[in-house]
């Protein structure tokens, strides 16, 4: 199954952010979206999620145009993990995860036992079942990011789209999120995430999509796209490559 943007022009009513972009994400693979601030990453991500309409071109999901899906149908196919935020009301963590089940019920229904089981399973899978009764307002930023990921799992989608999932997380939690992204693809999900750190793409992604000023610079397997030249081209800054003497693994350093 594929989520595909075909020659999409992205942006807002008064501003074109990127033109004629082709991007495809298949189930079972991880695609990392990289680019400097203002390159159009988030706009492209929200367009693929169906949250912003493309100005031109088409988004296809499983061979059908995305705008032909209802909000509920779409939510059962694609889950969105936004950057964690401080919410207004002190819902318990379990309620936040249960909100992922909304698309599986009708307009007037409340979560049933099946939904509760799905929420509990998602919390357990991420190892945060002990947070279930805590107010979402009272947990740390890293825990919130994991809760939002649990909500996406409870949603039971085929694709998971994450907006800078490692931003503002400590080193340990960054690794945890990367692990979960890899496991999501192993369990058959298609995963798309944006990041400011090419090392996260190296660590978790199968393919990378490099954007600069709304233009695609590269799109392909990690080994072919995450090169010093490409990174220097998109960030317009020098990049150093570190190589592990033991196993030859790469890492990048800015400057």
């Amino acid at each position: 199954m594929k989520l595909e943007g075909r020659a999409v022009t992205i942006g807002y009513r008064d501003r074109v952010v990127g033109s004629k972009l082709n991007v495809a994400l298949a189930t079972g693979e991880v695609l990392a979206l990289l680019g400097p601030n203002g390159s159009g990453k988030t706009t492209l991500l929200k367009t693929l999620l169906g949250l912003i309409a493309p100005l031109d071109g088409e988004i296809h999901l499983d061979g059908r145009k995305l705008d032909a899906y209802s909000a509920r149908e779409r939510a059962r196919m694609i889950a969105y993990v936004p950057q964690s935020h401080a919410p207004t009301f002190a819902f318990p963590v379990e309620s936040i995860v249960l909100m992922g089940r909304t698309a599986h019920g009708n307009l007037f229904s409340r979560p049933n036992e099946h939904d509760r089981a799905a929420a509990t399973a998602a919390l357990e899978r991420l190892g945060i079942a002990h947070l279930a009764a805590r107010p979402y307002t009272m947990i740390s930023g890293g825990e919130r990011q994991l809760v939002l990921l649990a909500r996406a799992l409870a949603q039971d989608p085929r694709f998971v789209v994450l907006d800078e999932p490692t931003a503002s997380l400590d080193f340990g939690n960054q690794g945890k999120i990367m692990d979960e992204i890899v496991r999501l693809a192993e369990s058959g999900h298609g995963v798309l995430f944006t990041t400011h750190d090419p090392n996260h793409a190296l660590r978790a992604a199968d393919r990378a999509y490099l954007l600069r000023d709304g233009t695609r610079i590269a799109d392909g397997p990690i080994s072919a796209t995450l090169t010093r030249d490409n990174l220097e081209a998109i960030y317009r800054a020098p990049v150093r490559v570190l190589v592990d003497a033991k196993d030859g693994t790469n890492a990048f350093l800015p400057g």
């Binding site: 209802s70 149908e73 939510a75 819902f91 318990p92 909100m99 007037f108």
Partner: protein, 337 residues
């Protein structure tokens, strides 16, 4: 989900029960609580009572309708405030945020100015509230914006101030000996004139609006997330927002048409309800309705017994609400950003 709602619900019910007990017994004509109970049970059973007709009259014709009106108006304002605070993701929002109260006020003062009678004034007030919010919504939706909620709130504020200018103009033009006191009295809010005939036009819209909000309780939880997140979770936020605003406006307009402008209740009581049972609308909406009804009933009893003349409700709620609101601002800073 989280802690049990039972203790919080029980407290809300106790407040309402205390309100009933006080409202029926105290006043210029004190009545024993046992007499109230025996009359009500006798009426329900259809048997004759041994009470003096004057007592029966006070309970059934004078205090009864006013008690029910106070409970309905208090419940309506609190439920509307609860819905708007969730929808706008802001705990400092009150039911008049989209202009329902200012629209109703303009309708009512126009009715007083043109001397259309009590029923006409109430109808104009009700219609004024609905039309004002519909206009705010229509204007707000035509303005393209990333944050539709913010545009709605700003439109509500500017349209509300325009309607306030309309009210000011009518006050300026009104006959200062007959109409102006009536306008002033109405704008301060009162249940003194509530009779049995007020209850049906109040109960209908309040019941319909509250039932709609209760039916949408889970979606309202999701709507308290940022708009894009709610949409990604499968909620058609545009139509749902219209349904919630329409239901909340219906109950607000009906209560303002009956009781005039009563501030603070719809802002403050939702917080008390949330403190009692948490933010889940499934339990918050019923708790807010019960607590708001009991709260306004207590305030209204105070309004008619504390002084030789009736104290306008709007003044009493402000006197009690202002210190509470300041406390709220100080404490909300810790949990809300």
């Amino acid at each position: 989900m989280g802690r049990s709602a039972a203790p919080g619900m029980l407290i809300a019910c106790l407040v309402l029960a205390a309100g009933f007990a006080l409202a029926f017994t105290v006043g210029r004509y004190p009545i024993d609580l046992a007499d109230v109970a025996s009359l009500l049970t006798a009426k329900l059973a259809g048997s004759p009572t041994s009470l003096p007709p004057a007592v029966e009259n006070v309970i059934l014709q004078v205090r009864g309708p006013r008690v029910l009106a106070a409970v309905l108006v208090g419940a309506a304002l609190t439920v509307a405030g609860t819905a708007f605070q969730g929808l706008f993701r802001n705990p400092l929002v009150s039911p008049d945020i989209l202009g329902a109260s200012s629209g109703a006020a303009l309708g009512a003062v126009l009715g007083i100015y043109f001397s259309v009678g009590v029923f006409g004034i109430q109808t104009l007030a009700f219609a004024g509230g609905l039309v004002a919010v519909a206009a705010v919504y229509a204007i707000g939706s035509t303005i393209p914006a990333r944050d539709p909620i913010l545009v709605l709130v700003l439109t509500g504020i500017v349209v509300g101030s325009l309607l306030g200018a309309g009210v000011g103009l009518i006050k300026y033009l009104a006959d200062p000996y007959n109409q102006l006191p009536a306008i002033t009295f109405w704008l301060l809010g009162s249940l003194a004139a509530s009779g049995p005939s007020d209850l049906i036009p109040l109960l209908g819209p309040v019941a319909i609006g509250t039932l709609v909000l209760l039916a949408l309780r889970w979606r309202m939880n999701v709507m308290s997330l940022p708009d894009e997140e709610a949409r990604a979770l499968g909620v058609a936020t545009g139509p749902l927002r219209i349904a919630i605003v329409a239901a909340a406006t219906l109950v607000t307009s009906a209560s303002v048409a009956t009781a005039g402008i009563i501030g603070w209740v719809g802002l403050v009581v939702p917080h008390l309800a949330r403190a009692l049972v948490g933010p889940d609308f499934a339990r918050l909406v019923p708790t807010a309705a019960i607590l708001g009804g009991g709260f306004l009933l207590l305030i209204d009893t105070l309004a008619r017994t504390a002084a030789a003349v009736e104290i306008p409700l709007g003044i009493l709620t402000a006197v009690l609400g202002t210190p509470f609101f300041i406390w709220l601002l100080a404490s909300v800073g810790r949990t809300w950003s």
